[in-house]
């Protein structure tokens, strides 16, 4: 592109093409969504198997894996942030959404002894559903929105289950709202960044 005069029709065409170039750039590579999906499934299933086998320390999986996941996310986010050549408003909204989600999650889990395991798991799934639905809307990515509906459905179903079986519900919710859409998001990102 050079420095030259253009006519009004060319101007409009140029504006359209530049705005769509910037808009179509996918903000999220899906890595953290897939990572958290699997991490929570592993923790939930480990906890479930331990309870079924009468092993008492199954809950330790959460205490160990979640903080490790948090550290990984912060390091990964920091590195990605440094790599990015352009920051969009969507990046900013997503960042605050997931920070807010993380804080809500930590508070829900932290105060679990006060309001019980069962309602904590219920709110956990609602939070997952909310965060994935908003992300799906911001990224204009339908699988995340559909996945979030599964998370909401799992939350409703979990009301009628024991707190042990709720762990299976959490795994199912994460599979539908994180793992599957996350992998799809990843492949879309890769196809755009060859």
């Amino acid at each position: 592109m050079e420095e030259k005069e253009i006519n009004p029709a060319e101007s409009l065409q140029l504006i359209n093409s530049m705005i769509s170039t910037a808009k179509n750039r996918l903000a999220d590579d899906g890595v953290l969504i897939v990572f958290w999906g699997w991490l929570v499934i592993v923790a939930a299933m480990f906890n479930y198997i331990c309870i079924r086998m009468n092993v008492e320390w199954g809950g330790a999986a959460w205490l160990i894996l979640m903080p490790l996941g948090g550290i990984f996310s912060m390091v990964y986010g920091y590195r990605q942030n440094k790599k990015e050549k352009v920051k969009t408003y969507i990046d900013k909204y997503l960042k605050y959404l997931w920070i807010g989600f993380g804080v809500s999650l930590a508070i829900t889990l932290g105060f679990m002894p006060f309001h019980g395991v069962k309602s904590s798991y219920f709110f956990l799934m609602l939070l997952y559903g909310l965060a994935t639905m908003v992300s799906g809307g911001l990224l204009n990515f339908r699988p995340l929105i559909i996945g979030s509906l599964f998370a909401f459905a799992c939350a409703v179903i979990s009301v009628f289950l024991s707190d042990t079986d709720q762990l299976l519900c959490i795994s199912a919710a994460l599979l539908c709202s994180y793992v599957i859409p996350g992998h799809l998001l990843r492949s879309r990102y890769k196809s755009q960044h060859v």
Binding site: E2, E3, K85, T88
Partner: protein
């Protein structure tokens, strides 16, 4: 009567830069260079003109010991862009007389 189109924006490269910046929060010099396929020298000159007009902010910093130039549009730049688009519409909706 038509309003004159803003001379700062009515140039291919400057308009491309402002159109890119209107859609994002901030962008690196290298990103603008890739997207506009302009030469670094020419892009620098045009960015400077946009800055002098108060349409963009340029922030120079260091990232991993390399200089990094970040550009973002200013409220004045957004107003100028909107006005430019309105004026363009006026030009384009008028059919030439036979």
């Amino acid at each position: 009567m038509f309003k004159d189109l803003d001379v700062i924006l009515h140039s291919q490269l400057r308009l491309a830069v402002v159109s890119l910046l209107i859609s994002v929060k901030e962008a690196e010099f290298t990103y603008l260079k890739e997207q506009t396929k302009a030469t670094a020298g020419n892009l620098s000159v045009q960015l400077q003109k946009l800055k002098e007009a108060g349409y963009i902010d340029i922030e120079k910093k260091f990232k991993d010991n390399y200089p990094q130039t970040m550009c973002r549009i200013t409220p004045k730049g957004i107003r100028a862009f909107e006005e430019y688009v309105e004026n363009l519409k006026a030009y384009l909706t008028v059919k030439p007389k036979n």
